[in-house]
Symmetry: C2
Subunit: 210 residues, 2 copies
DNA sequence: GCGGCGGTCAACCGAAAGGTTGATGTCCAC
DNA sequence: GTGGACATCAACCTTTCGGTTGACCGCCGC
């Protein structure tokens, strides 16, 4: 890398953007080139090819979700690396982000030097994971039997939001039979026997976000 | 007020503190005197009397909650004004903050100039509310209190822990008919039609703890 | 190629939950 | 002491959910 690492900050909170800029601009090898207040704007800016690393929030107030934007950005050839920077770590979020092609997953409570190190790691083409996130992934590897699949987490997340099987089937373009099938597997893996206890168990294990 | 407005920033995210500092330090009449990464630390610092306004987050990663800290700070004579600065606006959060003596309630997605204006408003002894928050309070005034009774919350809490009506009835020494009766009232008050969506709604409004 | 896994769907049944009506009793406020 | 809010329970009915069995397909690894 000849020049500085060129950064795009994507977060809907002006204060967070200012904080990231303050923290990262002091690093001599970084250059914060632009900011985006929406995921859509981040996708558009990233397509210009003017960035090496995108720092991407997951939750935007409205519109596209961060993981969708990540997928859109990384789909292009010569795309910048995308670093997820969010407040929570749930299996559902982490899997969606990795699936979307994220080059790292950080938590907003990270100290500045950890943040800077992760950006350099991502810029170098390696994966940058927050310790808490890495720990969760290791746990998942160790016990693959009782871990939920991506699809199961997707269903469980919607259950946690209070949707009925009918509503979930429509949201995910499935039949109710398939939703029930997933739920049966989920119950077995979590050792429960109802949707409410599944949500309680999943919340306790931070499998889904509340 | 003779000197500048002296500020204390209380937030567990280094990035957010840096952002607030960056945004507020550019105002000539503000002086960010100190930062606190925990609510406990904020209470201790506020007691020194070296501040005019405290910018307080509600959710800290661990330990005391922001509304508890607010109550502790405002209880003292000659206490600084406390401005809540958080991501979400739930009825329960807002009420707890007002109850605790907060002098304002802002959302983190506020533009910097709105933030600065709110700080000056609070320093002058007036109440500073974000438009979205003010709107919620007006809504609450218009619609009569529809709050859940103690017994209903008790039932809802158990529903949230994943118990069936049968299990709840045994736990509370009731018939299933009574449990169902409570649930019907709960659904009506929350505007939902299933136990899972009731839990989701109650969680979002911080009516029950998870 | 074959088996296993993940994802999809159908049909069926019993159990649980949702919804309604109506009733009793207590407590408190006006 | 009358009305209202809260809590308790019963009977009844409809809908949803939980559980099972069985099936088909695509993908990946051996």
């Amino acid at each position: 890398m000849t020049g500085p690492i060129r950064l795009l900050l994507a977060d809907d909170h002006p204060v967070v953007r200012a904080g990231l800029r303050a923290v990262l601009d002091t690093e001599p090898d970084f250059e914060v080139v632009a900011e985006a207040a929406t995921a859509e704007r981040a996708v558009a800016l990233a397509a210009t090819g003017a960035f090496d690393v995108v720092l991407m929030d997951l939750q935007f107030g409205a519109g596209m979700h961060g993981s969708e934007a990540t997928a859109a950005i990384t789909a292009a050839a010569g795309a910048p690396r995308v670093l997820i920077l969010t407040t929570y770590e749930s299996d559902a979020d982490i899997l969606a982000a990795v699936e979307a092609g994220a080059g790292g997953y950080l938590l907003k409570d990270a100290p500045p030097q950890e943040l800077a190190a992760a950006v350099r790691t991502a810029a170098a083409g390696r994966s940058a994971l927050a310790p808490a996130v890495a720990h969760r992934l290791m746990d998942r590897m160790r016990t693959p039997a009782q871990s939920l699949t991506k699809r199961e987490l997707e269903v469980l997340q919607l259950v946690g939001e209070g949707l009925s099987n009918q509503q979930i089937s429509k949201r995910l373009f499935l039949s109710q039979a398939t939703v029930k099938s997933h739920l049966v597997h989920i119950y077995a893996k979590l050792g429960v026997d109802s949707r409410t206890s599944a949500v309680a168990a999943a919340t306790a294990r931070r499998l889904i976000r509340r």
